[in-house]
């Protein structure tokens, strides 16, 4: 198979992975103040772990084994560290002693993760643009 746009499948995989990470981060931020989930207890933040696999579609010219690595979301883990417990007897989810445990979402960390993921997403878009313009340029070879 001719790879006219070099690295396009690698870049698409990365765009998908970063987008999924952004979705998980938005979910964390949206649920940052939830103290009462259907499973009981406060919301526990989720995080994605990336892993990369060899690109099967890539064939090197001299049979050497190195291929570009395609990234994917390996797993979505739940962070089990407990959130802080505050004393607020007026809170609707306060227990008998007036304490309530908050979710373990740290907004500052989520914002930093979000910035990293957006940055990576934009860099991948840039790679896709360059791959496309190189392919267009290739097709112009020989045209006067």
């Amino acid at each position: 198979m001719i790879r006219i746009m070099s690295g396009a499948d690698t870049t698409v995989a990365a765009l998908n992975a970063e987008r999924m990470k952004l979705e998980v981060i938005s979910q964390n931020i949206a649920n940052a103040n939830v103290t009462n989930t259907p499973e009981g207890g406060p919301y526990k933040r989720k995080e994605v772990v990336f892993e990369s696999v060899m690109n099967e579609a890539f064939k090197s010219q001299d049979g050497n084994n190195e291929t570009p690595m395609m990234v994917k979301v390996g797993k979505v883990e739940t962070d089990e560290t407990p959130g802080i417990t505050i004393h607020d007897p007026n809170h609707p989810d306060a227990d008998a002693e007036g304490n309530v445990t908050l979710s373990n979402v740290n907004i500052h960390e989520e914002m930093v993760d979000m910035i990293m993921a957006s940055r990576a997403y934009e860099a991948n878009l840039s790679a896709m643009k360059y791959a496309r313009s190189m392919a267009v340029q290739t097709l112009r070879i020989g045209r006067s």
């Binding site: 291929t67 790679a127 360059y130």
Partner: protein
């Protein structure tokens, strides 16, 4: 006789360079895609190809370019950028994307120029 038309040293050398440039794009796409993958080591076109290519250029002769094939390898001189050992520096990779594209444009201009000269020689018209 037909091979003679397309065997000029510059033409052959530029074709090999263009193969390496498109291969490099694959490596850069892999690096940028894996900027957040724990422990990922950046890759690039192999050093041995670069050395052999420079040698072939300085020694002249199109036979030297014959079996030269670019391949990917892990960049062993890259340093870790985060605590997981990921060696990708995003700014540097994006910069190299730009350089790679300029190199590709240069190579395609050279190849188009060689073909245009041939066309001029054969048909008398550019």
């Amino acid at each position: 006789m037909i091979e003679g038309l397309f065997n000029q040293t510059n033409y052959v050398a530029t074709k090999k360079m263009m193969d390496a440039t498109t291969l490099r794009q694959e490596a850069l796409a892999s690096n940028i895609g894996n900027v957040e993958t724990p422990g990922y080591q950046r890759m690039d076109v192999s050093d041995s190809f670069k050395k052999q290519f420079s040698k072939a250029i300085s020694q002249g002769g199109k036979e030297a370019f014959g079996d030269l094939n670019a391949s990917l390898e892990v960049d062993s001189s890259a340093i870790a950028r985060d605590e997981t050992g990921n060696t990708v520096d995003l700014e540097s990779e994006v910069l190299q994307l730009g350089e790679n594209q300029i190199a590709h444009q240069l190579e395609s201009k050279i190849i188009t120029g060689s073909l245009a000269k041939l066309r001029l020689a054969i048909t008398g018209r550019p």
